[in-house]
Amino acid sequence: MKQPSRCFFLAARRLLACVLAVAATAPARADLYVVVHADNPSRSMTQKEVLDLYMGRSRVFAHGDVALPFDLPRDSSGRERFYQALAGMGLSQVNSYWSRLMFTGQSMPPLPLPGEAEMLAIVRRNPNAIGYVATEPVDRGIRTVLVLREPR
């Protein structure tokens, strides 16, 4: 009677090991948090609204206030992840798109900041600012208005 139990235990252990191995090799999907100042009237935003701001198609929040979008460094992996999640575009495509708007004098791309710490600092002190970070902020002065999932 002990042998069938032992076989079952061994099988279960092997199965568990396989599951853990598969989970370890599967790419993690992280969230990206689009954030604004806590006093910003926007409680939440749609992906299209954020996309329009970051692609220069809109300059204002839905409530009419001017929006100041900020970006991470141009060639950074954080920026790449953001635009892939937001627009399904790689950095080359985004930069190509913005080069047309910028060098024809129509619009300027979001101002790049050195890193997420600077991004949070600017959003914390400017009610018109909008930015994004990879870690959910816990600062009471900052509100998350959209959570983006990275595509597989």
Binding site: R59, G88, Q93, R100
Partner: protein, 429 residues
């Protein structure tokens, strides 16, 4: 290879800067942002000996060979924001031209409302799809905008005013752009020995565009009054043609009369209306498409024309392969002139006959030399090897009719099928 060494060095240096330099920090405190773009390119042409490739009338005709001066250029732009509503923009571009006109943009923009922008100063016209971005190689798929369409277009800079109103509605982004102003360009004369000023005395236009889901649609109408710059040489040519038209030589007199009428028309202000439509699709997915058509309507057939092209690209990772087909017909085209020297010699003597004959031939060439009658097929690829740099290879096969061949050569008019190979590196910084 021919290219001013200074421009070549600056362009290559900036390309290296773009590929290796870390992103510049935000200049939020000053409101000043400086950026640049450029292209380093090499072209080779397989064509009759005295034929050469050039992007536009603003470049000199050349005799082909391996060249860097067709596509290479370097641009620098400064944006200075005075708060949220006012911005000043200046842009200079270094590129080989008949007459160097480095300032491409120099304007003040005012945004009294988030959906309304007014600009005053030097901007670029918006008559065709790539009017404003012709120099920004990194922003489009190909080595250069379709040559059949953009090669002969004479409108470039615009000194004036424009207004852009944007609206979100029905899930689409609408833009209405009204523009007006004047401008001047120096183009290569058809003999290749002199340049010719082309004055846009008045231009007013309206473009309406719609963007949704990666699909960009646009329609444009623009009215232009333009003329070639009237010079002392042109005035003397008109007088000479008038005298020849009065001679008792029916064939020569008729040709002289027609040339006098056409040249006079080109020197006087004439109206051209441009009507066009364009479509561009790129939703970030694997397919990219562009289609554009344009008509230039005028009572004067030598400044009328039409063009159309279509391009389809397939994105495969960082590489996009594409094919393009186009056709363009501008101007009346080349017509054979009789031998004035032989006909005039008995009347005027050999020396005078030769002088008048040469003058007639020069005027005839200048009048018809701007015409382009051609179509082309192109294939190429774009490799985004860096987020801010792209390498492109393109092969163009042109079919050029004799009547529109002088855009390519300072030699005799003839039909030919030139093949142009190009390699360019586009970058931004």
């Amino acid at each position: 290879m021919r290219l001013p060494f200074l421009l070549a060095g600056l362009t290559i240096g900036c390309a290296l800067l773009a590929l290796t330099h870390a992103t510049a920090h935000a200049q939020a405190d000053t409101g000043l942002r400086i950026h640049g773009f450029g292209t380093v390119g090499v072209t080779a042409i397989d064509a009759p000996d005295d034929w050469g490739m050039r992007r536009s009338h603003k470049q000199r005709r050349n005799d082909g060979g391996l060249r860097m001066d067709v596509d290479s250029r370097l641009g620098l732009q400064a944006n200075y924001a005075l708060g949220d509503e006012v911005e000043m923009v200046g842009q200079a571009v270094l590129q080989p031209q008949v007459r160097v006109q480095p300032v491409e943009l120099a304007f003040v923009a005012w945004r009294p409302r988030p959906d309304l922008t007014l600009r005053l100063g030097r901007t670029n016209n918006d008559v065709v799809l790539l009017s404003e971005s012709r120099n920004i190689g990194f922003s489009y798929l190909w080595v250069r905008p379709n040559h059949d369409a953009y090669g002969p277009l004479p409108i470039y800079l615009l000194d004036g005013i424009d207004a852009t109103w944007q609206h979100q509605g029905g899930g689409a982004h609408w833009k209405v752009h009204a523009f007006a102003g004047r401008g001047s360009t120096t183009v290569d004369g058809a003999t290749g020995q002199r340049s010719q000023r082309y004055d846009i005395q008045r231009l007013a236009g309206l473009t309406v565009s719609r963007d949704q889901g990666g699909l960009h649609l646009r329609g444009t109408v623009a009215a232009v009054r333009a003329a070639l710059g009237r010079t002392a040489v042109a005035t003397r040519a008109l007088q000479t043609l008038g005298q020849v038209a009065a001679l008792p030589l029916p064939t020569v007199a008729a040709e002289a009369a027609e040339l006098r009428e056409v040249l006079g028309g080109l020197l006087d202000s004439r109206r051209v209306t441009y009507v066009g439509a364009g479509l561009a699709f790129d939703d970030g997915g694997p397919w990219i498409a562009t289609v554009e058509v344009m008509r230039a309507l005028s009572e004067e057939r030598y400044i009328s024309g039409r063009f159309g092209y279509a391009s389809l690209g397939r994105r495969i990772g960082p590489v996009t392969v594409y094919g393009t087909a186009g056709v363009g017909r501008f101007g009346t085209g080349w017509q054979t002139l009789s031998d004035w020297t032989e006909a005039l010699a008995p009347l005027a003597g050999p020396e005078a006959a030769r002088a008048v004959g040469n003058a007639g031939a020069v005027v005839h060439r200048e009048v018809h030399g701007g015409a382009t009658h051609q179509h082309s097929v192109s294939v190429g690829l774009r490799w985004d090897l860096h987020p801010r740099a792209a390498l492109k290879l393109q092969l163009d096969r042109f079919s050029v009719e004799r009547s529109g061949s002088l855009f390519w050569t300072t030699g005799e008019a003839r039909s030919a099928r030139p093949v142009v190979g190009s390699v360019v590196l586009d970058f931004i910084f």
